[in-house]
């Protein structure tokens, strides 16, 4: 007898199937090259490269999963962790869509809005990259033009300036403490930069949750 799944259960079932299938497909890429070209990896280079890369990536991925899944919703998470570019694209897209719809991500409406926004963003990204690859010869000199370089170098400040105004103005009571903390840390600690900002996201989230809990318990929120 066919079991009646709720919408959320079916999202988790489908996400499970899709993501694990994608994982297998991604592994098939190097395996296919090995078979086609009768080539094995340089095992020493592979081990050394993996040791230098994987521990950091694995730690960040675990932290990102726990941090981003509650913000992206279920469908959005399954898609985002396959399509990548989460903090610089998928999360801002989801945040803006939730704001536009005036719904919370932990409601069913929020889940649907977040999934739709992230899916549309993923499709558009894939198509634009495809177009870029097809037109790589004529596009390279244009996109690499020195005059445009500063614009693409400042994409995150331009993104979080607009997004910050919307969210901070609506939640200013819980925003002051984490913003002050992050400003002090990023200005005073030289090790904090573009490559370590991912690590600071869960720090910011945990600190804001703690501050919010205190303010909530004191009846300030």
């Amino acid at each position: 007898m066919k079991k009646n799944l709720s919408y959320m259960d079916s999202v988790h079932r489908d996400g499970w199937i899709w993501n694990l299938s994608m994982m297998v497909l991604l592994f098939l890429f190097p395996i296919a090259i090995m078979v086609l070209y009768h080539a094995l990896p340089d095992w020493h280079g592979f081990l050394m490269g993996l040791i230098a890369t994987a521990p950091m990536y694995w730690a960040v991925a675990v932290v990102e999963t726990f941090t981003y899944v509650p913000m992206l919703g279920a469908g959005g998470s399954y898609l985002s962790f396959v399509t990548g570019n989460i903090s610089n694209l998928k999360l801002p897209v989801a945040l803006n869509a939730l704001e536009q719809a005036d719904v919370k991500v932990n409601s069913e409406e929020g889940e649907l809005v977040s999934t739709i926004a992230i899916a549309v963003s993923s499709i558009v990204t894939t198509l634009i990259i495809l177009l870029g690859v097809l037109l790589i010869v004529p596009l390279t000199p244009i996109l690499n033009a020195p005059v445009l370089e500063p614009a693409f170098a400042q994409i995150l400040p331009a993104l979080f300036g607009g997004l910050g105004v919307v969210f901070i103005s609506k939640n200013w009571k819980i925003s002051v403490a984490p913003i002050v903390l992050m400003l002090v840390l990023f200005i005073a600690v030289p090790a904090l930069n573009a490559s370590t900002v991912g690590i600071m996201v869960p720090v910011g989230v945990l600190f804001t949750l703690a501050v919010s809990r205190i303010l909530y318990k004191k009846g300030i929120l």
């Binding site: 994982m23 230098a52 999963t65 899944v69 962790f81 739709i116 994409i155 300036g161």
Partner: protein, 245 residues
Amino acid sequence: MTFDINAPILFVLAGIIIAAVLAQSIYFLVKAWRRAAAIGMDMAKLRRIARTAAVFTIAPAVAIVISVIALAKDLGVPLPWLRLSVVGSMSYETIAATNAESAMGLVFGQVTSLTASQYVTIVSVMTLSIMVGIWLVPLIGKKLQTGLISLENRDKKWSDIFSSAMFIGMISAFLGYVFCDFSTVFTGDLSGLIPPLVMLVSALVMCLCGIAVKKIQKPWISDYALPISLVVGMASAIPITALLH
């Protein structure tokens, strides 16, 4: 078969995987769209949200194309095309490729050709390093979501504050990051002011959009406020950089 980092067969392999990812996005979009219609959500509003998401994506996606071009110098086009369409990002892929290449005595940015063995080594390091998120979400995603729903049922007000606090925590980290080079100002190098000034322009444009929505009653401005502030902020980086560098 002679190996080439831009061999047609590599484009075919990458294309198959990217097509599968595209299919996943379409599948989830259709599923969510049908559910939204079934529970009576405002479909016109959803269409506007989808349009905004598409427009907002254009500038960051062009930046990803630039990353593909940058990585293509060392790795050919198919691998960066695959990795930046699926799972990766510019910083992740650059670090993974640099580490794998240097482990084989190569220097990232100076590679002129790769053997099949070197290529497979780099691809394997990149693939194994970044796979955790893809399998961890199916493993714990449902438990995390269930926890949030039970929080919502226990205390709705705290649940709402909880989700806002998560977003603010994430945004605060990126606002801090914008100031990471600010200390250069104390040594007379004004380039550390560029990111904060770009952020300020973007924030001001967002405020102006908010005022415009109220004054001239054009809801479409609200829909496109974030893409507008993003593009104007990015454009402002050109004169600001020229002035402060």
